[in-house]
Symmetry: none
């Protein structure tokens, strides 16, 4: 199942002008640098060198603009994860690959992801719901891989696949709050360590009680 097209209503045709592209680029940059709420529509159009009317021609609202940016990212990330999950190789290998891919994608789009993490809660309406559903699908894809690992006996079963998935994705989704490019570790190194931590954490525990948890269905809210 491919991601639903991100557009609101209407017809298909590649924009002749570059207005839409400029708007997205400017908004991405500004949202990342100053935050969604602290960026005014006026600033976006000024940076994109278009008029307000043009922005509202392409996006129904400021929040739809934010949502659009995130949905494009999410669609791409989902496609990649699906490819890995459906690929060949032992599940342990695919799990490691999936984790590494999340790390890489996160690194490549910290800005956009940061903005969404901070401001998603301000968005409501149809678009937001659709986005949350898509995000939910992404999560489920990852969780299914963990479940497969549990079935294969390579992933501990005393922690639910859902908790494992959320933990890993949360840790990743929060790097922006602490990672500093000027720190002693590069993002690549941090990424390796995160993958190692994740993979290591999956190993079944030493002999001790390990009740198989219910395969729960906690829903992501954002």
């Amino acid at each position: 199942m491919t991601a639903a097209p991100t557009e609101p209503i209407s017809r298909r045709r590649a924009p002749r002008g570059s207005a839409r592209r400029n708007i997205v680029a400017a908004a991405t940059e500004l949202f990342a640098r100053r935050g969604y709420e602290a960026t005014s529509v006026q600033e976006i159009v000024a940076a994109a060198a278009v008029t307000k009317g043009a922005l509202y021609h392409w996006f129904g609202s400021k929040s739809e603009l934010l949502t659009s940016i995130y949905r494009e990212l999410l669609a791409e990330q989902t496609a990649r994860l699906r490819e890995i999950a459906d690929g060949p190789g032992p599940v342990a290998e695919r799990l490691r690959a999936a984790a590494a891919d999340v790390v890489a994608h996160t690194a490549a789009h910290v800005d956009e992801l940061t903005v969404w993490a901070r401001s998603a809660h301000l968005i409501d309406g149809e678009h937001a719901d659709a986005t949350r559903r898509e995000r939910r699908r992404y999560h489920d894809l990852f969780r299914d891989l963990v479940l497969e690992g549990q079935s294969a006996g390579v992933v501990r079963t005393d922690v639910s696949a859902t908790v494992i998935t959320h933990t890993f994705l949360s840790a990743l989704g929060n790097t922006h709050t602490w990672f500093h490019p000027d720190g002693p570790l590069t993002f690549t190194e941090v990424g390796h360590q995160l993958v190692a931590l994740f993979v290591g954490g999956l190993r079944p525990p030493e002999p001790s009680a390990s009740p198989t948890p219910a395969d729960d269905r906690s829903e992501p809210r954002a």
Copy 2:
């Protein structure tokens, strides 16, 4: 008979308690539910059944109100962690206890923590800086415990203590985005699993390359 003298659009009073306490309670609730930026001072005073003047009497600004809420929490959390860290017992035990305490405290104050996580980036000024420094101290306290574990050989050394700390705290700090009280697991169960995952993840990996990483100093940004 002419219409009664007309009045401005405004608040509505209710039997009052302690003004300051009411303000904090109302603000906490509203910030958590709608977000800091989406909550107006007007709404806070209406919910707290006080006037704007009263709010500005107790808090210098809206952002100081947010900061105050978080600082109180942070102080409490820091004190508890310090007690655990400085307590008796083997480091492995203290690590587990610290993790469990973070989980418990997080559960008890999701709202306040969520708000800060989402909106800290909007705040600046003295108060905010001080708060960030305090938050940094909290993080360092936890990391030092991890370092102690690494020295004692009970914690893997191929992942930096900083990364371990951030990972755990991030996973915890994000529970609000996915935990559902109606889901199959109670928060207590999820908490247990998170601690297990954390503790399990700390174990040194099977024989493989494990270069001791530099004890980096990545600074938390928020």
Copy 3:
């Protein structure tokens, strides 16, 4: 797979009829329901399933569209009134027929008439002036019939023909503010009563002072 190319916010097409007719129909309905000012050109074209370009191809402006709708109606109504006024029969009979015709025509076109009554004051320019002159001619036609009745002694002369005319046309033009199809009376019944009231009101009063008023020339403003 990346998201499909994104598209602007806009209209949606439906199987088309005659563009111009569709536009008029859609505009009439929307203007009547929500008001002229509260209806955007965008909404009109959406409802008519045409594009903005098409609307501006047929009508020079939004106000010209409104004017056009009303002028067509007015022309028809004027032609009918002229026929009745110039017809055979005693003036009393023609007066009653004219009143009945106004009632019938009003009933058939409440929407269009309502819109004009409410929004004519917003319109200016050549077209609007011409329309107001035409409307004036319609009024004069009716008034002349009343004057003829006064000369013939079948209509009271203590009230000026102008006041009589305006009163009757106003009462008619306002039915939309109070008539309810679900009420106890059908529009036909209400119409009969209005004609009866009009005709009855024309009778000369019982013996009392009745100075013949100047045949004034108060001009309709809208």
Copy 4:
């Protein structure tokens, strides 16, 4: 039953400053001269020499401002009508007095009434509903007087009291569309004629069929 106070929420106390008064005066004048929709909030505050914030402190919205102006008028008019209706004297006399009073009040407030007549349809929400209910009460008061006249045998019964009431009030409410101060008749003269026409129209018709119409309950919409 007195008219409900026109204010939105909140407490009572006479405004210290003259801001509110100035706003109402400026708005009344501008709405009358240019129309409600054609008058911007900016123009109102400029004319009232207050800031936008002050306007929104006293009125929740532009439409609430319009509604307030009308409601005050309506309350006054209702009070006067009630006094007349409940007064002493034969019903025929009270009917004439009521009509004369409506004419006088209309003359004194053409501007405000014109604005409401033209723009009421743009207003919705709570305030508008309340206003329509109040207007409905006014209408009922008048109609009850007509009904009393019908019972007493001084008013024709072949036309329903509701239709009579609406007709008279509509004719009055529409004077603004045609009366010209520069015309041959003063408003006082026109008023006298309208009252004469109304009173004359009430007389039972010459011998002819006159079925007592159902005492209908058509609801005014505006």
